[in-house]
């Protein structure tokens, strides 16, 4: 991989590197997710405790970031699938641009929905403004 250091990063390379990083991030998330869910074994109290641990603005921000990672992996994954199916192989850059637009729009919509729902980031931030992390 030393060669990568001095080879130009074309658009397709960037798309691929981001796709790989997103994949790794998803594996990492899956491990955390399984760890959180395993608290169910300890009963309701144990689960409530761990959910309380994640009930803070940082976790909310990470959650929105996670949605971005999932959606990038989804839309770029579909781009690669389309290319493998022979669709727009000669216009991969336009296809990537389209994937990025759809990615950002869907991410924005989901993030908006998450923020405006009960206990969203905005209200949590307002809480910090009001009296620190608690």
């Amino acid at each position: 991989m030393r060669a990568l250091q001095r080879y130009r990063i074309h658009l397709g390379t960037a798309a691929w590197i981001l796709h790989r990083l997103a994949g790794l991030a998803l594996i990492l998330y899956l491990l955390v997710h399984i760890w959180v869910i395993h608290h169910l074994i300890g009963g309701q109290q144990s689960f409530d405790k761990i959910m309380e641990f994640f009930n803070n603005p940082l976790a909310k921000a990470l959650e929105i970031g996670l949605v971005g990672v999932i959606l990038y992996h989804l839309w770029n994954g579909l781009r690669v699938t389309l290319i493998d199916m022979g669709v727009m192989v000669e216009r991969q850059k336009a296809l990537f641009a389209a994937a990025v637009v759809v990615w950002l729009v869907t991410w924005g919509v989901v993030a908006y929905a998450m923020l405006t729902k009960v206990g969203g980031l905005l209200s949590a931030l307002a809480k910090i403004g009001g009296g620190g992390l608690s």
């Binding site: 001095r6 080879y7 130009r8 397709g12 290319i83 493998d84 022979g86 991969q92």
Partner: protein
């Protein structure tokens, strides 16, 4: 002769195995007075002929046919003879050997893997039925035109040298081998699909392509190996399911 279109360029060259530094990479810089229209190969020749006779690189036809002068110029695999220095738009031109291949001396790399990868896909017409008596195996114009964009490869290795999958796995067959395989699989006269596919359906074969498109960016003949790879993947899946 000074000309307003002349420009002094710095050539920063990645050297290897010369200057008493066996098996060691090092950078060396040369100044070249370059003219508009001059190729990188012209400049390298100027360095070799007038400044440093020890600078080693391959070249032959100087017209984009033989593929000998493939090297990494400003971070991209290209043919030195087809790359005009002025179009690069940089004061310093960085020249390195092809990536991923074993270095021999300066810009010359061991290109043995190129014929090896090529031969692995059996790059020739395989037939099982006899030809029509006293006739060639004919093709319609439409059948022939399916081979456009597949047969023009000059085997310079720019694509494979640009491919991260090849950097990670030197046994990876690489873009040009796939392009060549598809050139025969797509040929209406060929009956050796199984033989061509043998090396492709392998851990060093098709499935290692991650659709990065560096090969398409690099190809000096503007061919599209990724398109051929996509077609081969579809054929392979179709054959397995069907």
């Amino acid at each position: 002769m000074a000309n307003h279109e002349n420009k002094t360029l710095t050539f920063r060259i990645r050297r290897y195995g010369t200057g008493g530094k066996a098996h060691e990479h090092y950078w060396q810089e040369y100044k070249v007075e370059a003219m508009k229209g001059q190729s990188v190969l012209d400049c390298l020749n100027e360095i070799r002929f007038k400044q440093d006779g020890s600078l080693t690189f391959r070249r032959s036809c100087r017209s984009g046919i033989c593929g000998s002068c493939a090297m990494t110029i400003n971070g991209v695999s290209r043919l030195a003879c087809e790359t005009q220095v002025m179009t690069l738009g940089t004061e310093t031109v960085t020249v390195e050997p092809l990536k991923g291949f074993r270095p021999i001396k300066d810009l010359a790399v061991d290109i043995d893997p190129i014929p090896e990868k090529l031969l692995a896909v059996k790059p020739y017409l395989i037939t099982k039925t006899p030809p029509p008596s006293d006739q060639e195996r004919l093709q319609s114009q439409a059948e022939r035109s399916r081979l456009d964009g597949l047969y023009e490869c000059i085997l310079c290795g720019c694509c494979t040298a640009s491919c991260p999958s090849f950097w990670a796995d030197e046994k990876y067959l690489g873009p040009f081998a796939f392009l060549k395989a598809y050139r025969f699989i797509a040929d209406s006269r060929d009956e050796g699909e199984r033989e061509h596919f043998e090396a492709l359906d392998d851990k060093h074969g098709l499935w290692r392509c991650h659709t990065i498109f560096n090969c398409v960016e690099a190809c000096p003949k503007s061919l599209n190996p990724t398109k051929a790879i996509a077609a081969l993947k579809r054929e392979l899946v179709k054959n397995r399911i069907g």
